[in-house]
Assembly symmetry: D3
Homo-oligomer: 251 residues x 6
């Protein structure tokens, strides 16, 4: 049995969500897999806009670099926008998988089409962008918003009911075979929703964690011959210099 260390990064700074994510990831890993979930030291409390996502990325990348130092064999980026994924692949030695890509690819093994159910309507464009990027634009038959803010998933007593109904409705209106949950904050709802609606429901956190575990088992990591080679070293101005040389230290 292979022994490995997977680091799961929740790109927002809400540690209660990070704890839920860690529990959902741990529930599916093999005995030999050690798992740690963290939030970055800087960034937004939740990610609900392109702006939030942009500001979350430097913190995610700093955690990747810390994970490299700590010997992580692979990484999960646990926000459905997969923020910083390409950059993370450049700086990580092992595989890096986003929960949106893992969930969508996983859904593609379960039938012809899937629906995504997510939080706010303003994030649906990004979800469709990702489906397009991952080649799953045709498989992704619809992206549906519950209009529940990310952090309200933890506090709104009606959240589970609203998300469950949205999943059920999406199955029917899209003619889908499965539903993908479009937010890491929904990870703990997955089993119950699936039971309630009688159809496969995919939580990207668990899916991505197993994807990373499989890639490490297979000895596979990001190809490093071209676009995803380590980035050129260079000076960075201001406070953002985790990877390059600090400015003024060239000698």
């Amino acid at each position: 049995m292979i022994s490995m260390f997977i680091k799961v990064i929740n790109p927002n700074t809400t540690w209660s969500m990070t704890a839920t994510i860690e529990a959902c990831a741990r529930a599916v890993t093999a005995p030999g897999t050690r798992l740690e979930a963290v939030s970055p030291r800087m960034g937004p409390a939740s990610i609900e806009s392109h702006y939030d996502e942009a500001l979350a990325v430097p913190g995610v990348l700093a955690e990747i670099l810390r994970g490299e130092r700590d010997g992580a064999d692979g990484f999960v980026i646990a926000c459905f926008g997969d923020p910083g994924l390409d950059a993370a692949r450049e700086i990580a030695t092992g595989p890096v998988v986003g929960i949106a890509e893992a969930a969508m690819h996983t859904a593609s093994f379960l039938g012809r089409g899937f629906s995504v159910v997510t939080t706010l309507g303003r994030t649906t464009g990004r979800a469709r962008d990702l489906a397009e990027r991952y080649g799953l634009r045709d498989a992704c038959r619809g992206v549906h918003a519950c209009e529940i803010p990310v952090l309200a998933l933890e506090t709104d007593p009606d959240a589970r009911k609203i998300v469950t109904e949205a999943c059920f409705d999406a199955l029917g209106s899209d003619g889908s075979d499965a539903v993908v949950l479009g937010c890491a904050g929904m990870a703990d709802l997955c089993a119950q929703i699936s039971a309630d609606i009688g159809a496969p429901v995919i939580d990207g956190v668990a899916a991505a964690t197993l994807t990373v575990q499989s890639l490490v088992t297979l000895g596979l990591t990001t190809g490093k011959r071209g676009e995803f080679a380590a980035p050129p070293v260079k000076p960075y101005s201001g406070l953002l210099a985790p990877f390059g040389r600090a400015e003024g230290t060239r000698g």
Copy 2:
């Protein structure tokens, strides 16, 4: 740790290849996973044409039905054409994964593009069809034939060298980040080729086995609400009646 039984079906009737496939699949499964690889009782010795593939499918489906009877939790179809995959999903309770789809989706986590290296040039059209079907047409940057017949992979002393060179050349000409091996008969070459060319190389047999193991772990299987529900029961004439009623036995 989850306990499960995965049945791997080699769609051709060459049992020496089936043994290799079983070894490659077993090398990556978790301790709790029982694995069996079989060939159908009828079908072609190798699959190198649409005609071969068409004649292999009924035997594959018969093995799915036997697996259902024997309590298999999931199935791998171990031929790069993924023969009978849609039909198998209709008749299996658990997930069914083809090695082409598993390999291609796995490759998509390793960078922007991959190359496929396969046996005969006449099968490259089918490989491209599958990439298109799985949404990975853009990610699949080239399909390259070695012009080695499937069964010669086991006997031709130059086979590994030729396949390795084709993989290396494909990386360069396609600008790819990874290589997918386009035949189950290449499964045992994977690690060595990867070491030789210095880039990720994906064997679909191992990738599909871990994909099924992950799906079973996640409690996921084919959506059964629509296209992939169990097929309507009906009479079948002639010798092909594994699932429906035998003709003349209606009452």
Copy 3:
């Protein structure tokens, strides 16, 4: 006037449907064209699932081989899933045309978009797959199911009314210029439906028969330089050896 022999294969084993198909095909051929319609000796009574289609294909291919022996100049595969089409092109000398491809290409000459009206909802995915494969995904504006089983088309007294209404509704909801009938069992309804709804309605059986007649007239057949060359001869285990060598007879 060119003299030719076209063999029409109804992939299911319901000979009453075969007789209807033959009549519809004969109604449109030129005086010099001899036409025969058959069902395979083995296979499902109707094709309503991927499983049915997979089990129908070997019988279709056996009929192609018999037609080759009997001097057929071209073949029609008369089931809207076009089962076995690629394999048939490998083993036939003359052209082979499926009724879905013929109907869809024919519809493309009549305007910008067409609707497909078919039997069961579970087959609509396959129809969309074919539209995509034939390049007519954008032209195919909708695939609509009547939820009438294939064989009920012959027996249900309301079948024609239901299909006609579905065609009329599809024209409006899809904004289509024409309707394609999505089942060979609807061939004899074509003229009446067209008259009732006041729009072009395409029966694939007649369309495919004329397509084959035209290809033979033009001296055209499947290109045989690559993917569709005759398949490599090899041993086949079990009962499925129409084309290769019977196992144990190599000497």
Copy 4:
């Protein structure tokens, strides 16, 4: 046997080419089909630019209107740019088919991909546009120019040799199953080139003529419910008023 009148319009004003087109079309029609080929009374001597094509269209449409008056059952537009096709479908009662669309759709029945071999390089963009429009962009694997002007096809003693070599080269470089001749002026070369290169070669003139003959036989014509209904009647200024009211004659 159905009796019909097909009018073939050569959009350029070179009547020697019109005669060749008529001979090639007549060679394939059924005994009951009457066929006439004409050139418009105004327009360019050959069509080798978007400008030429734009100026050819009014003459083509005038011939459609004359054909309507003369009882034509269907029309062929015999230039590989299919000039005026959409407009012709609005004003014709029977079907209208362009030679590019007929040739490309015909090629799609012969394998997975085809190459187009045409006259001047500057026209290849238009050929690719049409392949895209007809859904055959993937099937069309290459468009190759011989750099022979259209009218030189009739006079250049090397024309056949150059076109034949281009066809042979295209098959290899594109991995195609068939070749489409990209100019009506190549119609008479088709059989010889096919024999020389050992692969299917498609002349759009013959293909389009049989397509129209088949559509008329099937009782099919352009859908007239929407985009292709007869155009609204209105005043036309200047000399181009074949269909609308002449200006100043409204009372």
Copy 5:
């Protein structure tokens, strides 16, 4: 400040609409830009069909040639079908821009998706064709017809209200970020509609005029190395010989 002359061609022969177009174009140009709007001497009173468009093109091209003679630095084709655009680019020295392409590209800077609101339903196919041609098929989320004839935009007292409502409804049903007006005859409604619906509304006439002004400022014009080089000179029969040699004048 750059000094230039932009010629705006309204492809229909309704000069009252030409005057409106000129006013809308002038309202946005820089001080150094001289602008003239004209209608061709021949052609339809409005463009509402493929037939109208085909008959409008020769007149548009004649105006391009007159503009070349008069020293125009660039051209706008002010009909939402962009009639004759490719041919105009062959014969013009400076840039030529259609109002549909300018409006759609402009809309793409304002968000993820736009809706088109146009006159008659029969023209929506052409609008979708253009969106596809310009690469903006995904960005173009819907094309909606008001069923107001082109010339009624000037006379129908309810026109503005109907168009405004259609724009508002399209925003909601398409989830669009902006609206493109699909007819040059709507140019003067743009500002008011935008104010009424509270979203960006794009008039192609103003957008195309500024696009041409920018291209001239940047020193950019149509690439002349291939498809858009000046067309080969040749004889034209009949009355359409603005560019080639008049027949019978070869010496």
Copy 6:
């Protein structure tokens, strides 16, 4: 004449490049347009990887916010990866345009296809992503790297010669009508290269500046009804809180 203030943001921190960018932008603006070019206070010295781009974005967004405060009417993001564009559109009142999108859309007015010539090969994937995102994937016929680092464009005496040759070669190999320069650092080379190769060459800095100027003139800005509305206000941890509330200041 409209008076406006356009802020051009060079996302890297190399102010000598910012000065060049400002000069190129100023050269094309109208007399009433005030223009300022800046670099962010933090970020990488050049952008040559996904990692660099991710770390550049927070500084770009801070400059957008400063520009909002200073009354900027519109913004240009002057790096060919268009970093932070979606987020910038959320937080800016006026239009925001990236130089890659402006250059590519501009190229689409000049013919059928364009080539991109850029710095390092590892950035070509991002350029292709953007072409896809902007709908110009087919128009973008090739992306070619000179393998000159971004900052070496200012210092390498052979840079202009190498870039010019790459542009010339790209025109031929891609059959393109125009060339897009794939780095803001090439802005000052544009006119000379165009003269040298005899084809249109597009500098995105000038193109984007005129695009913003046109949008402001037309009164157009980002649609604010959905995805690009101002982001929800929320706490940001650490040092990245330009837009939301600083953590601990909620009362």
